[in-house]
Symmetry: C2
Subunit: 436 residues, 2 copies
């Protein structure tokens, strides 16, 4: 962990310190992903089967998970795991159900009623990565809010394991969320299937979920061709703010729980205590040795950063500039800093709120904006699975009252047909009046 002293640095040095590493050079990834997308678009299920054979080393006949497979998964997960999944799902539901928005109706002028109504995105695709970790928690984070939003069709894609099955915890989580269909397809080919549709996989209106660089690149490519996606993605990251009284054991554990995600994970410590840096570094070194994913975490830590500031208020300002995906605030009375936090995905306050609480079970969503996107993007919520439609209805009185204003503005903009759409109506009302 490199240490950076905020106080004696220029603005340029500060910006450089907070700059995330450039996303790894894509090399021929762009072309390779484009090829996969084109192939799936052209050849549907045949292409999915052949990419699954190539990348996942499995020859599949049925792409869709059968009800027998769901039943077997339910049996195999064990009571403890099922109860943990159910409890997490219940908390996620409690937090997300409160997000369901209310339709709104405003009479802006007499006879002019404007409304905003919410509708679910009809068909949604949920991607759950496989690879080095199996992630049933991600199934819950996508499955619960999409169910609450009322999406008509919810399709989940996840790569099969080497024996052609899907991890039973993933299937059990999908069952708990009442996902409609689960397909054994991963990588860029899964994104292509959801964007274009194949014989088996239905085309969806919006694609959600995290993934590796292939999935991220595929989401970007289908998005620039018009598909809707949840948000742009970069490596996962945490920024921990700790004061002199923070527990270095907790701080180190939190930094490591981010570092173990991948060698490109971003880990930043900001503290007003130089001593804390030393303590945390010692604790990180000690805890690191115990971890099965030691190599991954060590690689991430090599590029990590400790920043020494003068005050906790300054630490918050540094965090706002960085806009972290996860922000952990381990300082005295952490909650009093809430209002000052302007850019972050999800925030963990005080000593008893590890990031893992929100990653799994407290109720907040763990699909969050990375790479500084928290300046303009939000984490997943029920809103992500809804869209808004506005309605308006003017009465005769309404158009008579507002008509001239519209005519004046259309005249200013030299859009005569816009003006005329009002004028023909006002003329009709005048004629009717004269007749009466």
């Amino acid at each position: 962990m490199r240490t950076f002293f905020w106080k004696n640095s220029t603005d340029e040095q500060r910006q450089a310190a907070l700059k995330r590493p450039a996303q790894a050079n894509k090399g021929d990834l762009t072309a390779k992903v484009a090829e996969i997308l084109a192939e799936v678009k052209a050849n549907g299920d045949t292409a999915l089967r052949s990419f699954t054979a190539k990348f996942d080393n499995v020859e599949l006949t049925a792409l869709e998970v059968s009800s027998a497979e769901f039943a077997a998964a339910k049996k195999s997960v064990g009571v403890g795991a099922r109860e943990a999944l159910e409890r997490a799902a219940a908390n996620i539901e409690k937090f997300h159900v409160a997000q369901i928005p209310v339709n709104q109706s405003v009479e802006t002028e007499s006879g002019v009623v404007c409304e905003r109504q919410f509708r679910p995105v009809s068909r949604v695709g949920l991607y759950v990565p496989g690879g080095s970790a199996c992630l049933p928690s991600t199934v819950l984070m996508l499955g619960v809010p999409s169910r609450l939003a009322g999406c008509e069709l919810r399709v989940l894609c996840t790569p099969p394991r080497k024996d052609g099955s899907v991890d039973p915890f993933i299937l059990e989580a999908a069952r708990l969320c009442r996902i409609d269909k689960v397909f054994k397809v991963g990588g860029a080919q899964a994104i292509a299937a959801l964007a274009y549709g194949t014989e088996s996989v239905p085309k969806v209106d919006k694609i959600f979920g995290p993934g590796n660089s292939w999935v991220t690149e595929a989401k970007e490519q289908v998005a620039s061709a018009g598909a809707a996606i949840d948000m742009p993605a970069g490596p996962s990251e945490v920024l921990v703010i700790a004061d002199a009284n923070a527990n270095p054991v907790f701080v180190a554990a939190d930094l490591l729980s981010q570092a173990e995600h991948g060698p490109d994970s971003q880990v930043v410590l900001v503290t007003d205590s130089e001593e804390m840096v030393t303590k945390v570094q010692a604790e990180v070194a000690a805890q690191l040795k115990q971890l099965p994913r030691e190599t991954i975490a060590a690689a991430a830590l090599e590029k990590s950063l400790s920043i020494v500031v003068n005050t906790i208020a300054e630490a918050i300002a540094v965090s706002n500039q960085y806009a972290p995906e996860h922000l952990i605030v381990q300082v005295d009375q952490a909650a009093r800093y809430k209002d000052r936090i302007l850019n972050a995905g999800s925030v963990f306050l005080g000593p008893w709120s590890p990031e893992s609480a929100g990653d799994y079970a407290s109720g907040t969503n763990h699909v969050l904006p990375t790479y500084g996107f928290a300046r303009a993007y939000s984490g997943l919520s029920v809103d992500s699975f809804l869209k808004q439609i506005t309605f308006q209805e003017l009465t005769e009185k309404g158009i008579q009252g507002l008509g001239e204003t519209i005519e004046i503005l259309a005249t200013i903009e030299r859009l005569d047909a816009h003006r005329n759409a009002v004028s023909v109506r006002l003329a009709a009302l005048n004629q009717a009046k004269e007749k009466a």
Copy 2:
């Protein structure tokens, strides 16, 4: 206007009829825009001045509009226009102020408090096109909700006129919305300036507003490099549903008010009355001749479509499949169909609700999803200028209650450091208990 009979058609024919024309082949637009972006990124204001000289035929010294120019604009617009702008702004404010969301706090378990709070996107860039129409209404549609959201810095870019000035109506609308800075920069170079920042134009966190194909391409390019934008864009469009009792004069006027936007505007009529098609076509022909923008509207109408269906319910289903930017429903008791409308940007109900009402002054926003994007995207609202941050704080009791669940789930996912972040805390609490 081509007529299509829904009843006797196959699904393929129906899909083909509703298919929007492919976006015009970009040709070398992609490369040209990329060049402009790179040039502005490298040379800042110098590049902006040189592109403004090239594309707008103006040599500018100051890029920013001065307070003297604002004062002169205010004087020149006249009372009638100012009052119309003020009334439109007041209605837009009334409708949008009701959208300001409320923070939310949920105790999902004893000692586990999860919150969602809203924060403005700090710096926003608002683009207002120039070209064939000057659009002060767009200033209001971007300016009012961004003000209500509380964005810290709101920057507007719009191309200068040939004499180096900005249209006074645009400046007056910007003053009404208390926009912080207005720059005389248009086209792809304006989007580049907002995305990267120059000596004069500040870099922003999110870019909003409609534009021509250069602006749209520039927004797409900066978005795939990580800038946030409001929504993807395509040609403007309307779908009008009319029953046998609709007034063909109104229907024709509404179709034309869309057609005059541009030769690529999409205009669709759906009706359960074949006679209505004939009546509307006659009216369109008659009204078209009166329009100064006749050539533009005629070009759009050439590619337009009338669809004959059996029932109004079927017409709504056709509209849901098309997902129009604007939907006008001129049928008996139009409001009763509201719940069935699933995909649309903004909906106009009944005979007295022309699209121009919402384009200008009723209160709804006119920046809306086009090209079928209404299936997954919403029109602009206060939400577009906000993002959400989640917070959580667990008490000792909270982590003691939820800790085991988190540990089980982290174990399933084989993320030991995630589990350890909980375990070290539970251990500390146990030690403290034993000591006591």
